[in-house]
Symmetry: C2
Subunit: 121 residues, 2 copies
DNA sequence: CAGTATCCGAAGGGATACTG
DNA sequence: CAGTATCCCTTCGGATACTG
C-alpha cells in the first residue's frame, strides 16, 4: 500500500480539485479532448512543449480519476482514443472559467510573471 | 537576471493562471483573505497544515503578482494585514467555481484519489 | 502509433531554530 | 508577532532510447 511522504490534504473542495488537476498539462489535455482531439499523437501535436512520457502519465492519472476514458482499437498500427466521461464534462465549465480569466488578463499577467522572475535571485 | 531551468509556458490563459495560482496554499490564502482573515497568524490558524515559512513565501508571490497588498503597521508587537487588490478580487469568482466543483463532488473525489494511491506503486 | 525504462536536475515544500 | 536561514527530502517533469 502506497504511503505518501508529503502529507495529503483532502479537507476541502480546493484540495480535492488540486489533486486531480495538478500536473502541468492536465487542464489542457481535458480541454483539447473536449474539443475532439482524441488521439495521443494529436494531443502531442497540440501540446508540443510536453514530452510524450509526461502526457502519457497525466492521461493515465486523468483516467484513474475517471475524468476521461480510453478506448484501444485492436489494429495495426495501434489506435487509441480518449473521451471525456460524464464526470469529466462537468469540469469543462470550470476550466473554461479558469482559462477565461487568464485570457482576459493576459498581458498584465505575462508582464507580472516576467517582472517577478527578473527580480528573483 | 533569473533564468528558469525548466521551460516556462505562457502561451494561453491556462498557462498564465497556472503561474500565479500554483503553490499548494495560494487559492486558500486568497479565499481566506477575501473572507476577512487578514493577519498572518490568523491565516496560519486557518491553514494549520502549512508551515509558516511556506505561507510567507506564497503570500510574497501573491503580492508580487499584485493579487494582494500588504500593510505593515509600525507597532510592537508587529502587525501586518493583507487585503485583496481589485485585480485579486476578480479571481474570487474563479476560485469559487473551482472550490464549488470540488465540494460538489467531494465524496467521489476523495474515494477516487485514495483508490488511485492505494493501487499505485 | 502508442507506450515504457532509465536517468537526472529543478523546484516545491517540510522541520527547526533563530532574529527584530 | 512576523519573518528569515538552513537543511534536506520528495516529487515533478524533461531527454533519450527502446519495445510491441
Amino acid at each position: 500500500m502506497y504511503e505518501r511522504k508529503i502529507p495529503l490534504n483532502l479537507n476541502c473542495g480546493l484540495d480535492l480539485i488540486g489533486e486531480v488537476l495538478y500536473g502541468k498539462w492536465k487542464m489542457r489535455l481535458l480541454w483539447f479532448i473536449n474539443q475532439g482531439h482524441k488521439r495521443p499523437s494529436e494531443l502531442q501535436r497540440k501540446i508540443p512543449d510536453a514530452s510524450r512520457r509526461v502526457l502519457t502519465i497525466q492521461l493515465k492519472e486523468l483516467e484513474d480519476h475517471e475524468l476521461i476514458s480510453k478506448v484501444i482499437y485492436p489494429v495495426v498500427p495501434p489506435k487509441v482514443e480518449y473521451s471525456l466521461t460524464d464526470f469529466g464534462k462537468t469540469l469543462i465549465p470550470v476550466i473554461g472559467a479558469i482559462g477565461g480569466w487568464g485570457d482576459e488578463h493576459e498581458e498584465r499577467l505575462r508582464s507580472l510573471i516576467l517582472k517577478r522572475l527578473d527580480s528573483k535571485p
